[in-house]
């Protein structure tokens, strides 16, 4: 479980996060949603330690991540997989080398064993035989799938996804959502997804956290969201004709 306790973050004089306390449980798809500029990416980056929190702390299964020394933090980071918005695949490595990278850095497996693991995760993300392709030869959806394969190669306990569907067509976006959901269940991970894709919210949101003006504006599940009377949340979630129709039908 990952818990944030009253975390605040400032950039110069601007407060982006204001005393956020939230709990993300294992085996669930935890979604962070909110308007652009609400602070959801900053929250995600504070959770993984890319931004230092100015107040409060983040706890990974009872380990205070925010006040840890670099060495202990490194041990936790080995348990984290992250899917970045653009994939963040290493340009100079091919697919196989990208996926093998965490195994090369943190395991003493022989090459054959590493290759087996790489093929296994590539198979899992439905990209067999893509080993020798370079990132420049991949489509947007393939990049995301390779990035997921790299994130799970070292059996992480925690998976963070920053807008996994951005720039993808609806079908591919659904494939990525399904993949994240299946992997979360399969690996029993704590998965935190930062998104503003309403299809993802309604499809995979086991636990949804709505960030509004740097605070937690609402929390609940995908079923709760349809019956919520939170005006700010409804204004955000049901901002399109399609979602408004869905709400009316409910």
């Amino acid at each position: 479980m990952i818990e944030a306790f009253y975390i605040s973050k400032f950039f110069s004089d601007t407060q982006v996060l204001n005393a956020i306390s939230v709990k993300f449980e294992k085996g669930k798809n935890n979604l962070i949603i909110g308007r652009s500029g609400a602070g959801k990416t900053v929250l995600l980056k504070c959770l993984v330690g890319l931004h230092e929190v100015d107040d409060g702390y983040v706890d990974f299964d009872g380990r205070d991540f925010s006040h840890m020394n670099r060495k202990n933090r490194k041990n936790i980071r080995k348990e984290i997989g992250m899917l970045f918005q653009g994939g963040a695949l290493f340009d100079s490595y091919n697919v196989e080398e990208n996926v093998m990278f965490p195994l090369n850095m943190f395991t003493k497996m022989p090459y054959e064993e590493k290759l087996d693991r790489v093929n296994q995760v590539l198979q899992r993300v439905k990209l067999p035989n893509a080993n020798n392709l370079m990132p420049g030869e991949l489509s947007g959806g393939m990049i995301k799938r390779v990035a997921i394969a790299r994130a799970i190669a070292n059996n992480p306990k925690y998976l963070f996804c920053d807008e996994p569907n951005s720039g993808l067509d609806p079908n591919t976006a659904e494939v990525i959502d399904d993949l994240i959901s299946e992997i979360t269940e399969e690996y029993n991970m704590v998965t935190i997804v930062n998104t503003h894709d309403m299809n993802s919210v309604l499809k995979m949101g086991d636990h949804i956290v709505f960030i509004d003006k740097g605070r937690v504006g609402w929390q609940g599940s995908r079923d709760d969201i349809l019956s919520s009377d939170n005006e700010r949340l409804n204004g955000f979630v049901f901002s399109t004709e399609l979602t408004r129709r869905l709400k009316r039908r409910k």
Partner: protein, 246 residues
């Protein structure tokens, strides 16, 4: 104030760069890749510039030696001294600041804007050490080799002028090359080259690493790395010459 901030930021980055590599095997693989990229990749430009540099220097010296009391062997001597003391270590380092430095800054800068550095960070890898340290070690070893090679090619360029023109005879040139040789000149040139190699890689690495923004910033960082490294090379050239030769 901004200058002090940048110097502090640069020194903090260097502290991260000079850490022990995460995995020796991976580091060695990167090191050999960098030897190839920096060394073999710069080989062509070093040959072309050096051969023409040596040829021009010998022509200029020959052109200026009108006094019959000064022997023609001075052409070979002067070409050798200029190539060893200044042209090869300094001019070639300035060229490498442009070629290697801009490539390092844009490579690391692109990795920053496409979140590849964040990806390394998340995995628990020290990105500064992983990306800059192999380049630094490779440059420290390969740049002196390139500069020694450049010295030889420059001197050969001067020799070719003797062969293809009547400004001086090859025999006079070779005799000039062999007089008043002080091995310390080579040592001095190598010290300069190592210092310049450190400047080229660390300034470019720093400029690429601190980028915030997008592709425009990558271009700016690349330009800045060449400009700042060139200025520092010129300043350190003066300091080292003053310290080591006088």
């Amino acid at each position: 104030m901004k200058l002090f901030y940048s110097i502090g930021q640069y020194l903090l980055l260097m502290k991260q760069v000079l850490a022990r590599p995460e995995k020796r095997k991976v580091f060695m693989r990167q090191l050999f890749t960098e030897f190839f990229d920096i060394g073999v990749g710069s080989f062509g430009i070093v040959v072309v510039i050096s051969i023409f540099m040596g040829a021009v220097v010998s022509i200029l010296v020959a052109y200026n030696l009108n006094n019959p009391l000064i022997p023609r062997t001075m052409i070979g001597y002067s070409t050798r001294e200029m190539a060893i003391l200044e042209f090869s270590p300094t001019i070639l380092s300035l060229i490498l600041a442009g070629k290697v430095g801009s490539s390092i800054a844009s490579q690391i800068g692109t990795m920053r804007v496409t979140e590849q550095i964040d990806a390394l960070d998340i995995m628990g890898i020290n990105p500064a050490n992983f990306l800059i340290f192999p380049k630094l070690v490779a440059a420290i070893f390969i740049n002196p080799a390139l500069i020694i090679f450049s010295m030889a090619v420059s001197i050969f360029g001067g020799y070719l002028v003797g062969v293809f023109t009547n400004l001086f005879t090859p025999a006079e040139y070779v005799l000039g090359l062999r007089i008043f040789f002080d091995a310390f000149s080579i040592f001095y040139a190598l010290i300069k080259t190592v210092v310049f190699a450190i400047i080229i890689v660390t300034v470019a690495g720093y400029q690429g690493y601190i980028i915030k923004g997008g592709s425009i910033e990558v271009g700016r960082a690349s330009t800045k790395s060449v400009v700042y490294a060139s200025i520092l090379i010129i300043i350190f050239n003066l300091i080292l010459t003053q310290t080591l030769l006088i």
